[in-house]
């Protein structure tokens, strides 16, 4: 088995085609799981590997699978979250474009482990060309017998449906995604019940991010111990760090979890351009509270970032240089959440809009001294009080930005 088979993104220049994927050892892990392992053992292996969700929340994947009730004759579904709406994030796109069979193989393994026969890949509307690539890969896999009925000579089979979103950030929230697949307005459901019990079309459903599933074949091929040897004890393996903003070489870098933020930015992304110094870094997509330059030593794993009062989220690193006024960052942030709030629950619907209105006034030079405290207090009014995690996703980064860059903002208001 070549080294490439366990990398989420193949080497530059290598093909996404099935033939090339097979050349990299592809579908061997799925074959192994389906033909020689019990479903419970597959779940146990993934749990042992300590694979945490790569979409943002970081929920242990194997544990999630184990929540689906065993037995029963009804259908159960696998939903792949390829909505990738978190600003700054572009890693799932790369997997879908450059290594779609890795995702499909991960899906086959997950479906086998949980007893699922139908999978839906929910691809964000803006990725319609990307979805075409995925459809092509599915057709290849179906033709070769890696997807469809009777896989690897067993009676296990998996059908894969590609479902395109229509451009709403909220549909990346797993229950809003389910509503959207069901053909309804994309807005989150009340939990409990959780999707593992009542999910798509009220059937038990596993929802995993693209990168999470793409990490599964490696675990099955090389074993959980190999995976846990990479990264941090409670957040194992590698993940794709997407770096954008004020760096010389923006891009995707697959590194062990726990790699320090500074290493990723300086050693891999080439550091800030000439004459620019780093003012702040968003470590895990826009919803991850930003870090100041002096916090760049933070290791990029769940627990370390939680300790820094931020989160690793989607591991999308946005570097903000010292030439960018922080009020501009705040305004972009506020506009995004006000635009993307689904409007279902009060604190998020009004809170995001109110903050955006106040920030816009501030940015237009019509701020009042009390405005920054007002924004903090509105964020407090949203935090932990909304129907879905988007309230926190909006409130926390705004709160952190205003708190950490209060001096600069105060000066901006006074001007």
């Amino acid at each position: 088995m070549s080294q490439d088979a366990v990398r989420l993104l193949p080497a530059d220049g290598s093909s996404w085609r099935l033939e090339a994927y097979l050349g990299r050892g592809g579908y061997a892990a799925a074959r192994k799981a389906v033909t020689s392992m019990a479903p419970a053992d597959v779940i146990a292996e993934v749990r042992k590997a300590g694979l945490r969700g790569r979409g943002g929340a970081g929920f242990p994947a194997g544990l999630k699978w184990s929540f689906v009730p065993q037995g029963g004759a009804g259908p159960r579904y696998l939903c792949v979250n390829a909505d990738e709406g978190e600003p700054g994030t572009f890693k799932d796109r790369a997997i879908l474009v450059r290594n779609p069979h890795l995702l499909l193989e991960g899906m086959v393994i997950a479906a086998f482990a949980v007893g699922i026969r139908t999978a839906v890949v929910y691809v964000r509307g803006e990725y319609d060309r990307v979805a075409d690539r995925l459809r092509e890969a599915i057709a290849e896999a179906e033709k070769a017998g890696f997807i469809g009925p009777g896989l690897f000579g067993t009676d296990f089979g998996l059908d894969v449906i590609v479902h395109l979103g229509a451009g709403a950030y909220i549909c990346g929230e797993e229950t809003a995604l389910l509503e959207s697949v069901e053909g309804r307005r994309g807005q989150p459901r009340l939990k409990p019940p959780f999707p593992a019990v009542v999910g798509l079309f009220r059937a038990p459903t596993v929802i995993n991010n693209v990168e999470t599933l793409a990490s599964v074949p490696g675990i099955l091929a090389r074993g959980a111990d190999w995976f846990t040897a990479l990264g941090r004890p409670k957040d194992c393996g590698t993940r794709i760090f997407g770096v954008s903003g004020a760096v010389r070489r923006p891009g995707l870098f697959e590194l062990p979890t726990g790699t320090p933020l500074r290493t990723i930015i300086d050693d891999y992304a080439g550091g800030p351009p000439e004459g620019v110094s780093i003012k702040a870094v968003i470590p895990g997509g826009l919803s991850a509270p930003l870090l100041r330059a002096e916090e760049l030593g933070t290791p990029m794993d769940f627990d370390s970032l939680a300790q820094a009062c931020s989160m690793i989220g989607s591991a999308a690193i946005v570097v903000i240089g010292d030439r960018t006024p922080i009020i501009d960052v705040l305004q972009v942030m506020a506009r995004f959440y006000a635009h993307e709030s689904c409007g279902q629950c009060t604190p998020c619907r009004v809170g995001t809009s109110w903050i955006h209105k106040a920030v816009s006034r501030l940015a237009a030079g019509q701020g009042r001294p009390a405005d920054l405290d007002l924004i903090l207090s509105l964020a407090d009014g949203m935090k932990g009080r909304t129907l879905c995690p988007m309230g926190d996703a909006a409130a926390l980064p705004i709160h952190a930005l205003v708190t950490k860059f209060r001096d600069e903002l105060d000066r901006a208001v006074a001007r």
């Binding site: 009340l190 409007g343 619907r349 106040a358 009014g381």
Partner: protein, 495 residues
Amino acid sequence: MVGLSIDGRAVRVPEGTNVLQAAERAGVAIPHFCYHPALEAEGNCRMCLVEIEGLPKLELSCSTAVREGMVVRTAAERVVQARKDVLEFLLAEHPLDCPICDKAGECRLQDYYDAHGLFPGRFFEAKERREKKVAIGRGLLLDRERCILCTRCVRFLRKVVGTGELGVFERGVRSEVGTYDATPVANNYSGNLVDICPVGAITDTDFRFRTRAWFLHGKPTVCPLCSRGCAVVVESVSGYPLGEGERRVFRVRAGDNPAVNGPWICDLGRAGRRDIDENRLTRMVKAAAPGVDLSWREGIAEVAARILAVPGEERGARVAVVLNSFMTCEELAAAGELFLDGLRLAKVYFADPAPGSADRLLLTGERAPNLRGALEAGFQPRPPDLDAIAGAEVVLVFGPPIGALFTEGVLRRTLASVPAVYFFGSHAGPLDGLAGLVFPMAVPAEKSGSFINVDGLRQAFGRAVEPRPGVVAEGAILAALARALVPSGGGADVR
């Protein structure tokens, strides 16, 4: 049963009860907008958040099921702060047009602000401008600025009626309730949208700008417009701000009777408001002397004398009575005693509205409330036999429905040959001009008594509105008639 503690009060409730309901059982009212006991919890208003021991975040009381030993605090500082914050968010984009809002006085937003808010405003931005008068269906106007997007209306139409005419469109702060492709709300339960709207977003054109909620006196009764027997509340104003002695019914809204209608009523029953106030007969009229004031007692004396003028042995065949199933069980029992047992009349008929079509929810095909009461009182209700009535010497007609069964011309021809016709009716109709005496009668909302509904359930009700002076109920008429016709001592044989 599950035992838990709410604000230090121990309460035991059935398994599956939510915390909000359990708190109500314990006497603790948790404020809420979107939750409605008859609809699935949606948890969008965020007003009912409470503290549950052992859980880090505040939890929704509307969607959290009780657990044994649960310790709930509804007055903790952070709970009160969360309520304030939700109110502030809702009021930020609210037009605050209470002075011209029909809901003022019975508005949850007002009530909760009074109880939990009372903070100065911090919203200095431009409010969203939205449409304030969207016609979403028959008699319904939607004010999108007042709407707090609780989606009770949307869920009611989807889950209860099943017609689903309303949905939420757009997103974020621009979210709004609307109809699909302007297809209006069109079903027999649309009036409930006004009842369940916690604010003044959906108003009823029949009530809009007519009065203020705080002038209304609501009293429960049973809807008389079909045999379902739904609980309704009749809301009226007597005196101020109307003229002295004036009385008007402004609204009939749903009562709450889990055994019959839950919290809903149909639009037919709601429109029963008009039956109470409009087109009413309010004074005795003697055809021979229309300008003369006459009391109903004098009228009854005349009726009794006319009946007694028919020779005793002939009365059974020559006195005809038309009754109806709008009469209460008590009235029907009295009518049975007098007309069947006492006078032994052969010509006793029932004039009820023609059956309509039933719907899946509440409305039955029988458009009268007490057919089973008539059976219980010993009647075998049969429709009026016009030939038999035409051959009678004295005819007593109770109730206006006969006017809907036959044309005025037919009635006129039938009654032309009858020497004495007496009409006991609540509403003006073709019989007014054909009867020697017209008695102004009470409608069910002005009576107390009981009805037996389509499922055999007997429901007693009290008087919901005072009848106008001079208006009399069948009960009094029948009692007076019985006194005049049946000698004291109660002997039944008056032949």
